[in-house]
């Protein structure tokens, strides 16, 4: 078994197509996870017990089941009830929901870390509940949790090959298809690993910078 550079050159454009989809899915999934996580964290603090409870159970349910199963459900089962989603959309929803239940915990910790005095000062200033969240609590809660959020996004990035199971043409799927066409696995799979490694390493550098930039807050 020997390494064939000509084959590498031949399959590179296909793999790069895959990398683009992988990155797109990660970015969109991260955005969705950030929004879903905030939504869950806020709903769990709701004064309406029913809302708080049911969202809590929903989050536990999502966290307690494998992402792969959820992806199958969204892509292959939902059409049975008339919801037909393109593969990438289904994949992004799966990633966003699944990781949203994890980022919700990050939000919760971030919100809990804002001192009680800030809530009280906001009340003494007669700010409404909405203004207290948007102007006082979240602007203080979010910067320190950006590194933890970014950590989850990197983890999500490394899970995107699961999307190949629902026919998303991301990196892993492209590599599998060229490998199956030419019966050569060493180059495509090595390149998949290399792509993930390089992007992860770059992300870690970015993460360190984020930690340095946002990890602390001056009081």
């Amino acid at each position: 078994m020997d390494w064939d550079w000509n084959f590498v050159r031949e399959i590179m454009p296909t793999l790069i197509q895959g990398v683009k989809i992988t990155i797109l899915a990660t970015v969109l999934g991260s955005i969705l996870a950030a929004i879903v996580g905030l939504g869950i964290a806020l709903a769990r603090r709701s004064e309406n017990r029913l809302v708080a409870r049911s969202v809590g159970w929903f989050a536990e349910f999502i966290r307690g089941t494998p992402l792969l199963v959820q992806l199958y459900f969204i892509f292959y089962v939902l059409p049975d009830i008339g919801i037909l989603l393109p593969p990438l959309v289904a994949g992004v929803i799966g990633l966003g929901l699944h990781y949203g239940t994890y980022t919700a915990e990050v939000y919760r910790a971030g919100i809990d870390n804002v001192p009680r005095g800030q809530w009280e000062a906001a009340k003494a200033c007669n700010l409404s509940g909405r203004h207290t969240w948007t102007h006082i609590i979240l602007p203080q809660a979010i910067p320190p949790m950006i590194p933890a959020l970014a950590n989850y996004f990197i983890a999500m990035f490394k899970e995107t090959p699961l999307l190949s199971a629902i026919t998303v043409l991301e990196l892993m799927n492209q590599a599998k298809s060229v490998a199956n066409t030419y019966y050569r696995y060493i180059e495509p799979m090595t390149l998949v690993g290399a792509f993930f490694l390089v992007i992860s390493l770059c992300s870690v550098v970015l993460l360190r910078w984020l930690e340095h930039r946002y990890g602390r807050i001056e009081r």
Binding site: P115, K123, A124, C125, N126, L127, S128, H131, I136, Q140
Partner: protein, 261 residues
């Protein structure tokens, strides 16, 4: 004789099994300067926090500026107040906290202008003009662009006073506002409060351990113990000739701890 601006009627409040306020009643006249003193856990801070709606009450009634604070009258009956009513009542009251509670992510100017812009719909220019007057009054006009972390404790507390004043409350509550300060910074905050008392007719309630300041500043002193007002009177009566045994022993302890009366 004018009507009281605050009427507290048989308020009770417990934290778990601990009864902080036990049927407390008191009245405050408009423009009055009131000092609340007493041992920790006596309920003096709790009543301020209740007036600011930071704590719920278990029983009793409070009237502020002629209106029920925790109740609304509907069809001639008193019902628990909703958030809208509480928000309306909060406009009448401002509070300054022991630990300042400035918004650390906003500069001094934004700390002062935020609430007037959000709650009263003031335009930025108008809010900043008013804020500069207030910062000037507390002697910090040159710190408008500073972040709270760059200020000393005394400066932070003076900003907090300006922030509370920006909403033009009728009543100001001061909760041990010098307790967290280094001794040399206490006076600059007390000076601002003296100035405020001299220049406005605002009603002021302060919880304090600064007995000397309470003596000079207050029109009336209330001594709290175990959730009740044990003794009240003019500062001279309370500090020089306390009648109740509990007041005497409290003042003796305070003086022994090095506080000047």
């Amino acid at each position: 004789m004018p009507a009281p601006i605050i009427k507290v009627d048989a308020i009770s409040k417990s934290f778990g099994a601990f009864k902080v306020l036990d049927g407390l009643s008191m009245q405050v006249m408009p423009g009055e300067k009131l000092a609340l003193i007493g041992p920790s856990g006596s309920g003096k801070t709790t009543i301020l926090r209740i007036l600011m709606t930071l704590e719920k009450i278990d029983g009793g009634h409070i009237q502020v500026d002629g209106e029920q604070l925790y109740h609304m009258e509907r069809n001639g009956q008193l019902q628990p107040a909703d958030e809208r009513h509480l928000a309306k009542m909060r406009q009448k009251i401002g509070m300054v906290f022991q630990l300042f509670n400035l918004f650390p992510h906003k500069c001094v100017m934004d700390n002062v202008t935020l609430a007037p812009m959000l709650t009263k719909g003031l335009a930025r220019t108008a809010a900043e003009k008013r804020a500069m007057e207030l910062l000037d009054m507390v002697g910090l006009a040159d710190k408008a662009k500073a972040m709270p972390a760059q200020l000393s404790g005394g400066q932070k507390q003076r900003v907090a006073i300006a922030r509370a004043l920006a909403l033009s409350p009728k009543i100001m509550l001061f909760d041990e506002v010098t307790s967290a300060l280094d001794p040399e910074l206490v006076e600059e905050v007390l000076n601002v409060m003296r100035k405020l008392a001299a220049e406005t007719d605002m009603t002021m309630l302060l919880v304090t351990h600064e007995m000397g300041f309470a003596h000079d500043f207050a029109d009336r002193v209330l001594f709290f113990d175990r959730g009740r007002i044990v003794e009240e009177g003019k500062p001279d009566e309370i500090f020089r000739h306390p009648k109740q045994e509990r007041t005497q022993s409290f003042l003796k302890k305070i003086i022994a701890a090095g506080h000047r009366v």
